[in-house]
C-alpha cells in the first residue's frame, strides 16, 4: 500500500503545482488590463489625486511580484479582496468596511455545490443503468434510438435544453417552478423543488455523455476470452455484463463520471443564468459584465481549483481501481 500512497501524494503535489501555475496565469491575464484597477474603478473623468489615493489604498504602487504574493496569500487565507461594485457603493454612501468577495462568494458557492450534488445524485445512477442496458441490447432499435438521442443532447447548447424543459415542465404543464429563487433558511423540500429544473437540465447534458462512455467501456470488453467463457458456461447476457464485464470496466466509468462532474462546473454557469439560480456561476457572469475584476479573479481561481481537483480525483480513482497501475513495474 505504501506504493499507492506515494503515487497519490505525487499526484496531489502535481495538482497543487498546476493550481499555482494557473493562479499565475490568471494574475498575469488580469494585469494585461490597460491602465490599472484605479482608473477602471474611477472611470475616465478621474482626477490624478483620487487615482493615486485608490492606488495606494489597493497597494497598486507596489511591484507586480509582491502584489501577486499578497493576492495569493489572501486567497490561501480566505481573504479574497473587496469587490469593485461593493467598493463604489460603500464609498458613495460614505460607509466603511465594504462587503468582501469572500462574503459574496461563500453562500453562492454552497448553492452551486447543492445544484451539482443534486444533479450527480440523479444523473450517475441513470447514466450507468442506461449504459449497461445499451450495452446489453447493443445494435437493437433501443440502442440506435439511445445513440441518436444522446448524441443530440450532447450537441445541444445547455440553454436550448433549459428552455425546452421550461416550456414543457413549467409553462405548458406547470409541474415545476421555472425560477430558482433560493434563499437561506428555506425548507429542504422547497429548495429541492426549485433546484429540480436546473438539475434536470444538467442531468440531460451530462447523462448522455456518461451513458455513451459506459456503453463503450463495456462493449470494449465483450470480445475478451473470459467473457466468451462466461457465455459458454450458459450465463444470461445480463449476468455476463453485470458480473464479469462491469467490474473490469469500472476504471474508465469512474473516470468519465469524475470528468463529467468537472464538466458540470462549467455547464453550471449557463444554466444558473437561465434559471436565475443564485450560484457562483451567475455571480461570475454578472461580475464579468460590470468588469468587477476581484470577483472575476477569485471565481476563476475557484472554478479552476474545483476542475483540477475533480480531474485529480478521476486520476487517483482510476489508479486505485486498476491493479496494473497500482503496481507499476
Amino acid at each position: 500500500m505504501g506504493n499507492v500512497l506515494s503515487i497519490v501524494i505525487q499526484r496531489l503535489a502535481l495538482g497543487l503545482l498546476t493550481l499555482l501555475v494557473v493562479s499565475i496565469v490568471i494574475f498575469v491575464a488580469v494585469n494585461m488590463l490597460p491602465g490599472d484597477f484605479a482608473e477602471l474603478i474611477l472611470g475616465q473623468g478621474a482626477t490624478p489625486e483620487s487615482v493615486a489615493k485608490i492606488r495606494t489604498d489597493l497597494g497598486l504602487d507596489q511591484p507586480a511580484v509582491s502584489r501577486y504574493l499578497s493576492w495569493l496569500g489572501g486567497m490561501v487565507t480566505g481573504d479574497l479582496g473587496t469587490s469593485f461594485a461593493q467598493l463604489n457603493f460603500q464609498t458613495n454612501l460614505g460607509g466603511g468596511g465594504g462587503v468582501t468577495v469572500a462574503e459574496q462568494i461563500a453562500p453562492r458557492f454552497a448553492n452551486t455545490m447543492f445544484l451539482a450534488g443534486v444533479t450527480a445524485v440523479i444523473a450517475v445512477p441513470i447514466a450507468v443503468t442506461l449504459g449497461i442496458l445499451a450495452a446489453l441490447y447493443r445494435n437493437t432499435v433501443f440502442d440506435r434510438a439511445a445513440n441518436i438521442l444522446t448524441l443530440s443532447s450532447i450537441s445541444s447548447p445547455e440553454f436550448f435544453m433549459a428552455y425546452v424543459l421550461i416550456l414543457f415542465l413549467a409553462v405548458l404543464n406547470p409541474i415545476l417552478p421555472s425560477l430558482s429563487n433560493i434563499y437561506d433558511g428555506m425548507a429542504l423540500s422547497d429548495r429541492l423543488e426549485k433546484t429540480l429544473l436546473p438539475a434536470l437540465t444538467l442531468t440531460l447534458v451530462v447523462t448522455a455523455h456518461m451513458m455513451r462512455m459506459t456503453r463503450a467501456a463495456i462493449i470494449n470488453l465483450l470480445a475478451s476470452p473470459y467473457i466468451e467463457m462466461a457465455r459458454l458456461k450458459g450465463m444470461s447476457p445480463l449476468r455476463v455484463i453485470v458480473k464479469h464485464a462491469l467490474p473490469n470496466a469500472l476504471a474508465p466509468i469512474i473516470n468519465v463520471i469524475a470528468l463529467n462532474l468537472a464538466y458540470l462546473i462549467t455547464g453550471v454557469v449557463v444554466v444558473e443564468v437561465v434559471f436565475v439560480y443564485p450560484g457562483i456561476g451567475q455571480l461570475f457572469v454578472d461580475s464579468v459584465k460590470i468588469r468587477d475584476i476581484p470577483v472575476v479573479q477569485a471565481s476563476t481561481l475557484i472554478f479552476a481549483a474545483a476542475y483540477i481537483l475533480l480531474n485529480l480525483t478521476a486520476d487517483i480513482l482510476s489508479i486505485l481501481s486498476n491493479p496494473r497501475l497500482r503496481h507499476p513495474k
Binding site: M32, L136, S152, F159, Y163, V164, S287, V288
Partner: protein, 401 residues
Amino acid sequence: MSTLLTIIAAFVVMGGIAWVLRLAGQKATNNAPQFRDMSFGVAFGYVLGVVVLAWLAWAFVQSRSSDIAVANKFFFFGVAIKGFIFFSIAAWLFRLFGRHVGTQWSRKTFRHMPLTASFGVLAILIYAIFAIFAGVIAPYGQDEIIQGVAANITPGGDPAMGGNPAFPLGTDQIGRDILSRLIFGAQNTVGIAFATTLLAFFIGGSLGFLAAVVGGWLDQLLSRAVDVLMAIPSLIFALLLMTIASVWSSRLGIPLTVFMVLIIAVIDSTRVFRLARAVGQNIVVMDYIEAAKLRGEGMWYLVFKEILPNATAPLLAEFGLRFCFVFLMIASLSFLGVGIQPPLADWGTMVRDLAAFIMFAQFAPLAATAPLLAAGAIALLTVAVNFVVDWMLHKTSGLKE
C-alpha cells in the same frame, strides 16, 4: 411528486403487460423459439415502444384538437413530430438522390450512409447555403428597424393572432424582422465559429506537428504550457479573458468580436495541439520520414508534405468536433451577453432577447417559437455535424462488431 408516482406506476403496469404478453405468446405458439428465448427486457422493450408510439400519435391528434387550450398544450409536440417526419423524408430523398447522381466515389459514399449521416450532410449544406447567400435570401437587413411596422409581431403571419403576412416569423422587441435575423445569424454565428475553428487548427496543428518533429525542450515547453491552459475550464477562462478584452476593445476601438475570435481560437488550439502532437508522433517514427530527413528536407517540407497528408483523417473528424465546441462556446458567450455584439445578428443573443416569450406558450404558442427557433438552429447544426463526425469515425475506425 404525484407525477413521479404516475411514471413509476406506468412502468410497473408496462412490465406486467410485457410479462403477460410473453407468457401468452409462449402458450399460444406452443413455445416457439422466439417466445421461449425472449428475455423479459426485450418483451418490455416491445411494450415500451408501442406505448411511446401510441402516445406520440395521441399527442399529434391532440395538437389538432378543436379545443384551443388542448391544441395549445400539444402544439409543440405536433410541430416536433411533423418536423421529425419531414426531416426523415428529406434525408431519405437526399440519400436516394446522392446514390444516383454524382461521381462514382460520391455514389459509393452515399450507398453505405446511414440516414442520420445523410440528414447531417443535408443540414450542413442548407446552413452553408444560407450562410453564404444570407444577403440575397434575407428579405430585410439584419439591423434594419422596419419603419411603420409594430414591434413584437407574433410569428405565423395570421393577422387574427397578432401576426403580419409580410413577416412570417414576426418582428422582435424593437421591430426587426426575425426571419432576416435568423438568416443573417447563420452568416455571423456559423461564419465566425468556422473562422475561429480554422484559426485554432492553424495554431494548434502547426505547433503540435512542430512539437512532434522537433521534440526535446520545445516539445516539453509547449506541452506543459498546454497542460496549464487546459487546467482552466474553457468557458470560464474565455469569460475571464473577455472581461479584459472588453476594456481593451473600448480603449482601442477594435470590435469585441475580433478579440473573441482570437481568445477562443487560442483556448481551443490547446485541444488541437494535443491531438496533432499525438498523431504527429506516431507518424514521425515512420521510415518515410526518416528517408525524407536523410534526403535533407527542411522542417517546412516535413510538416506540410509528409506529416499533414497522413494526418488528414483524424484531423478532419476532430475539425468537426472542434467546430461544434467552438460554435457552442460562441453561442453560450453571446447568450450570456459577452460574445458577438449588436448590431450583428446572432442566435445566442436572439435567444436571450426573446426568451421571455416562452412564458406565453400556454396562451399563444406561436409567440414562443421565435426564441426556440434561434436555439433550435444552434442545436440542429451541432447535431448535424455530430452525426456526420460519428459516421466518419465509425467508418474510419472500422468498428463493425
